[in-house]
Subunit: 121 residues, 2 copies
Amino acid sequence: MPKRRKYDEAPPCAIVATLNLINGRWKGVVLYYLLTKGTMRFNELQRHLPGCTPRLLVKQLRELEEDAFITRTVYAVVPPKVEYALTDEGRTIGPILLQLNEWGAGWLERRGLRQKTARAA
Amino acid sequence: MPKRRKYDEAPPCAIVATLNLINGRWKGVVLYYLLTKGTMRFNELQRHLPGCTPRLLVKQLRELEEDAFITRTVYAVVPPKVEYALTDEGRTIGPILLQLNEWGAGWLERRGLRQKTARAA
DNA sequence: CTGAATCCTTGACGATACTG
DNA sequence: CAGTATCGTCAAGGATTCAG
């Protein structure tokens, strides 16, 4: 049994399935960054996610990799260098991520919780 | 302290904020049903969510209500009758829900996990 | 019919420290 | 730099029963 995430019991419901895929404290944003800023290294990614511990970041990245959304490329150099990039599959949710961002920005504004720019974090 | 959901510490990050709003085992589908099938009663809703206990359904509905996505209308009759409907605010995520559904359907298919129709559950 | 009450499990996530 | 290891917390969700 190769590790189950809580909702791998996902019924054949498209919406539930999709949401489960991007469930996780930072998955959505990670994908968004890789989408809008391109390939990134581990630390680079982490710097963009204030409050995200390496432990958690690793876990979410591994899950995204499992789900074929991103690739993980290790370079045999010192100091170590690992790059994360979107796959073609990962790129297919791009439009949704952009919409989530846009809608969320509007929502935050309606709530009076201004954010200065349209940045994702 | 009026009850906190785990991620109410949501940073002013639009994507994270949005995902947190529809996080929850059934929230997405509930919204989808209310969007595509219109106003629904409690039991009606539950019948569409196999495996969802009333306890959980109530909770998620209350949260959606708190977030102004849906309204809860109680009719003073016996037996009780309560109707849930999307608000205008709730309707604004409609496009995203539809896209989530569509993308998810494609994903499930690519995964070989056929679903017969385009139904959401 | 629409929940509320109670009790319980679990896994998502956090803090801190350490390493090749 | 890119993680592991270890320990701990806590809220999400499950099961069951009861009630207006």
